[in-house]
Symmetry: C2
Subunit: 414 residues, 2 copies
């Protein structure tokens, strides 16, 4: 089965918003073995929308459009689809009632214009939304399908997951494409390239590819087979080999972020962590609190931007501040110990450094010190992170999370 | 002049990467008054790439493709373009020399396969890159143009800015399209819709549109005229009218984020701020430290996730923790005063609340309290933020920044 994804909205063509829906939908379709051969994007224009549907139906078995289903006059996907399939718009009393009820429950009066959302081309089904007010539209004839769904990502995902993916998965009976990502940190990209060189070149099913970003390398394995199970069987031994070669640097073979892995390890160890941050400005705390339930392992973070606050809040010594300074091994050590003490935590993790673009505390941009303080382990590491301000911050956060991970996996010993 | 943007690469269709180039290029083209009517994306397939160029050339005056110019066998944009325009690939010795020199300067040996990058369809110009190794290709005939440039964003931008935008701008002799965004916060989307209703409906040059996200409404004015100056003259009075009607809710008519406005106001007032955060987990500190130079006005933030740390680090009273609890007006007040005291700041800002999805401290998800503490002003505000965990957090950060802004603009008095 071949599918095509059509983004509708002049704001996409003006570059005012990214057409992120196309990526999300494509990734989901790949997972169920549906081949996406083209993306299109068109503006809010009836003729051009109709042409986009016609072109999509020539090339693909299923066309999924997002956007243009709002209540206002510039939302004309309904009209464009009608034109493409030679249908007339019909007003559906059940949708009208659904809309009136939505507005009643919000205690708002419904503008008459909103009734346009009750119009559906003849011969089409409609999907009432949980979120928002825009119904989705589904059309099917001679083995060809069109789904027109809202452009608001949460509303789009709801209809994809609730209706479209199950329908297409069943209709395609397709071969499955399965991807697995192994993520590693604390290892250079060139080292990964060297360790896995034969697999990048030689492995075809699964294919092996990698992508590096600040402080992290992702290795993606993708296998194609008649079923999901078979594709997974093809991936498993290669994934094990990749994880084995990457050793301690690989932190997940699932779909977890580093902070999720750390959260899981902290929870398992029954340990509470506290942080002290300087250059990351709260970024480390934010990553540790991204998941619900973070309060089970995270106590807090002292974000101390100034030298005075490092002294008063964290108790960094006058000698350290006046000697090696705020960007130093000693300062990182004392910040980690301070975080552990101030928050009464089992583990303290601290970061100090220079985000840039200017030097700071006599140190160049990119200089980072990360320290961990626990009853059994005191550890400090320094490095120079490459890149601009954002990349240095991201790299620093990553290094602190990784030090915590390695400590929890007993890979760091004093 | 009409243009079309074609993203080339199977990884786009698999959803492995976002086609962010299309957005960036579209935004730049809009700025020089070139209308983008369609986006396309196709995989690494010679026939389909050729079809995409042909379709683009039927519909538009200029087609800009990104991607598929690498050295490996799956990069076939050169072949696809040749097929579309009926040309043959020719190897260029100057590009060959350029490639060899690039590799020499990196002290690496050049694989023979890389010479594919020296192939250019006959009758085309080429653009040698500063970054990377992939030359861009330009073709022109009977008023139609094609530019094929690399997909790596930095390499793409270099060729857009250095060659393509100047050429298209000159060729189009185009009218200029200018956009201005007025951003407002602390005001309901429906209120904005009501206040600006006549402009949304009636104003055509500039057009007036709005977009709401968590805690912020953006009003975008877009004018078209013979020159940039004329377009700006059309926008100015409408922008003033919009800002006037939105009153204190409008925080910028430029392109500043709320945290940039707050940073600018703090710097102008010569005041240092400190924060105390709970549900935002460092997000408020992070937004305040996003810009270089934040240390001129930001001292730090105590991210206190647990009740104990609110007590020990910030000095929230036992009575408050045992009475109204961690999610309360009183707790927010005491946290703000604590932040001001602990960091020796002129202004303390605090946030406490429930990010969700579970209730916390006897309060429902979305309940947020924000407080500000200064010598002259003590202010606290409570509200229920809608949406999921991420949205609630974003809304809370926004409300704290906005309270700080209004205080600095003397819009809050005790």
């Amino acid at each position: 089965m071949r599918a095509e994804v059509v983004g509708i909205g002049t704001e996409i063509l003006l570059g005012q918003i990214a057409n992120s829906n196309a990526q999300w939908i494509s990734e989901r379709l790949a997972e169920i073995g549906v081949d996406v051969m083209h993306h299109q994007a068109v503006g809010d224009n009836v003729e051009r929308i109709a042409d986009a549907f016609r072109l999509g139906l020539e090339r693909a078995d299923a066309v999924i459009s997002t956007g243009g289903l709002g209540p206002t006059q510039d939302d004309v996907t309904r009209e464009g689809l009608s034109l493409a399939i030679g249908a007339e718009l019909e007003r559906h009393p059940e949708i009208e009632e659904f809309l009136r009820e939505k507005f009643r429950s919000l205690r708002r009066s419904m503008p008459e214009i909103n009734l346009r959302q009750a119009d559906v081309p003849s011969g089409c089904r409609y999907m009432l939304p949980e979120r928002g007010t825009a119904p989705g539209i589904a059309w099917q004839r001679d083995g060809k399908r069109v789904y027109a769904i809202p452009g608001v990502p949460a509303e789009m995902r709801e209809m994809m997951q609730g209706t479209i993916l199950p329908e297409l998965s069943e209709a395609s009976g397709a071969s499955a494409l399965v991807s697995r990502v192994i993520r590693a940190t604390g290892i250079a990209e060139s080292k990964v390239a060297e360790l896995l060189d034969d697999l990048f070149r030689g492995s075809t099913n699964p294919t092996v590819a990698y992508l590096a970003s600040s402080g992290e390398v992702k290795v993606r394995l993708t296998a194609k087979a008649a079923s999901r199970g078979e594709a997974e069987d093809l991936i498993r031994p290669v994934a094990e080999e990749v994880a084995h070669r990457l050793g301690g640097a690989a932190f997940t073979t699932g779909d977890e972020d580093l902070e999720q892995v750390v959260g899981r390890l902290l929870r398992a160890a029954g340990k509470m962590v506290a942080c002290a941050e300087s250059l990351t400005g709260g970024g480390l705390a934010q990553r540790l609190t991204r998941s619900p339930g973070a309060s089970e392992y995270f106590l807090g973070s002292a974000v101390c931007y100034s030298a005075e606050s490092k002294r008063h809040v964290l108790g960094v010594s006058k000698e350290t501040l006046e000697g090696p300074g705020v960007v130093s091994e000693e300062c990182a050590r004392e910040m980690a110990a301070g975080a552990r003490r101030v928050f009464s935590a089992e583990v303290g993790v601290a970061l100090t450094g220079v985000a840039g673009p200017e030097p700071h505390g006599g140190q160049p941009p990119g200089q980072v010190w990360v320290a961990l303080d626990a009853a059994d382990v005191k550890e400090v590491r320094g490095f120079r992170a490459p890149g601009d301000r954002d990349q240095v911050v991201r790299w620093a956060e990553q290094s602190a999370l990784d030090l915590l991970r390695r400590y929890l996996q007993h890979r760091v010993r004093s």
